[in-house]
Subunit: 339 residues, 2 copies
């Protein structure tokens, strides 16, 4: 019944457009907030039974895929770069990676050892879903993870990251290689544990000029995506602010290319090429608009797609905590109802 | 001698490509840091003699235009929305604008009254420059200013701004109208005071989908730009992250369209149309790279432009405080030397 997500990834005809949302399990849901009064975000990520519970929470709203509840920074600890989520500040990496010695001390960890709890969660979720809804695994892409490692947390302009990329290209290459290997092995392990598709989150790569992306990022992403695609599962290649990188991202690989809200989806798809599937492209903040506005914009995306097989409806980025559950549900229903 | 900036704005042939940098007066210069030990940013903006001093500081590096030292938020106080720069946090607007009453209490201020110190600075600078270097005046664009008013300061996602735009379109229109009138009159007054070109900074508009820009922003920008252009001075229309908005920004108006680093300048110019001049497009963080890397990338921009009249070399956004003065100077020299 719920194979329309996987079918759309393969550009096969579907009964209705499949839909899921980035951060579909999260603070906008009362069930999640209730659980968070007892457990930290990292506790949930590191406890397979809790990750299972949270992963399943949103499915009552009618999404066509489940996405593993985890965080793109989970590999940092087993790599040797522990971090915490500081209140209101996002992630804080205790010892940012800025020198050759810092890069050298990073380990290419075995995911079964360092990330065994995540893989156990994947196995639990697959068993619980029992074939009814497909499960998406994921990992952060090397540029995005490297930016956290170098900056020590969130960043507005990726100043230290770009400085290392341009000033110490060999050190950059060494860091990107290590992060890429961790990500590649982690995605491989998630698929082995039962993930039926994987998404690579290159959330911050839109800060780069095309030339810098092609020279300093694309080769690493291509290796990860090529390896994941060789496993026979759909691979979603996601970024934000990437309107000028779409061709370069497509060249790097992916069964499905993510498209944010800054470009109309039909224009984006034409540039990517219709031999790939696309995912997107509603502005997540439209879920804060009156329900009829959000629904009208969702319908407009469907109209632009015009029924071409290979579109997965999603937001251009994650759901924000202030989002009303009712609007999420209304948009899902509208997408399923079609234009 | 220094009319190459104004000539390039009008797409007339020039001896060498003119260059200036956004935030060319600022913390990266020792002279500026020295002055800031004695005066706050707002003190400098509000004291014509100090604004004059800071405006002139960078010109020894060889820029082809001076830009008034001021801040895009200066009109907020005379509009009735006082703010301060909190240490390390950027601007804090004391009473954010979120309700109808908040919008109604905003005043369309007479720039000669509320911003007389800025206009006096323009007059002083023009006199001091004595025709040797042209002076650019500027103002923030309505979306960017409205986002500060609504969010109460800097914002990552413009959540409250977009929510108002979609949920209360009449209130949004009223706010945008008021801000636009203030900006329009302010630019007009700067030109009357002697500014030889003006730039409209729509720094944050790149967060919008094209459809939202056209519906909720473009008409206001068009009115401001049309009015400024009717005064016979070049008008620069600037934004960041605007690769998908370039055509819509061009349609809104401007003698010169700003292009950030996310799109190659030749591609951007072809989309904008060669009947407009363009300004950009070096990533400001390239000034943190080794000097030869920054210079090579500057030369690449010139190569892409290929000598077509109507290119003003600039960064895609402002100079960051950590920038070495020597690199700024090297890039200016490289641009003047040509490919």
């Amino acid at each position: 019944m719920h194979d329309r997500f996987l079918r759309a990834c393969r550009r096969e005809p579907v009964d209705v457009t499949p839909v899921w949302f980035m951060r579909q399990a999260g603070r906008y849901m009362a069930e999640y907030r209730a659980l968070r009064t007892k457990h930290t975000l990292l506790d949930i990520c590191r406890t397979p039974e809790l990750a299972l519970e949270v992963t399943l929470q949103p499915l009552r709203l009618g999404m066509d895929a489940a996405i593993l509840f985890a965080d793109i920074l989970l590999p940092l600890e087993p790599m040797g770069a522990p971090f915490e989520f500081a209140k209101g500040e996002g992630p804080v990496i205790h010892s940012p990676v800025r020198s050759r010695a810092d890069v050298e001390r990073l380990r290419i960890c075995d995911p079964e050892e360092g990330l065994g709890h995540v893989l156990e969660a994947v196995r639990l979720i697959r068993r619980e879903l029992d074939g009814k809804t497909p499960l998406i695994g994921f990992a952060g892409a090397p540029f995005t993870i490297a930016s956290y490692l170098i900056e020590g947390g969130k960043s507005s302009h990726y100043q230290l990251t770009k400085k290392m990329m341009w000033s110490e290209p060999e050190l950059w290459a060494q860091l990107m290689h290590k992060v890429s290997e961790v990500v590649r092995l982690f995605l491989r392990a998630q698929v082995a544990a039962g993930a039926q598709a994987v998404q690579l989150f290159d959330s911050w790569v839109g800060s780069l000029a095309v030339e810098d992306y092609r020279a300093h990022v694309q080769p690493y992403v291509a290796r990860i995506l090529g390896d994941a695609m060789s496993l026979g599962v759909p691979v979603i290649h996601f970024g934000t602010g990437t309107s000028t990188l779409l061709e370069a991202q497509r060249d790097a690989g992916g069964t499905v290319i993510g498209v944010d809200w800054r470009i109309p989806i039909d224009e984006a798809w034409a540039r990517i090429g219709h031999d790939r599937a696309v995912q997107g492209n509603l502005d997540p903040l439209l879920l804060l608009a009156p329900r009829e506005v959000a629904v009208a914009r969702a319908k407009d995306i469907l109209r632009r797609v015009g029924g071409r097989p290979g579109h997965i409806f999603n937001l251009g980025h994650g759901i924000v905590p202030e989002t009303p559950v009712e609007t999420v549900q209304a948009v899902i229903e509208a997408v399923h109802a079609g234009v």
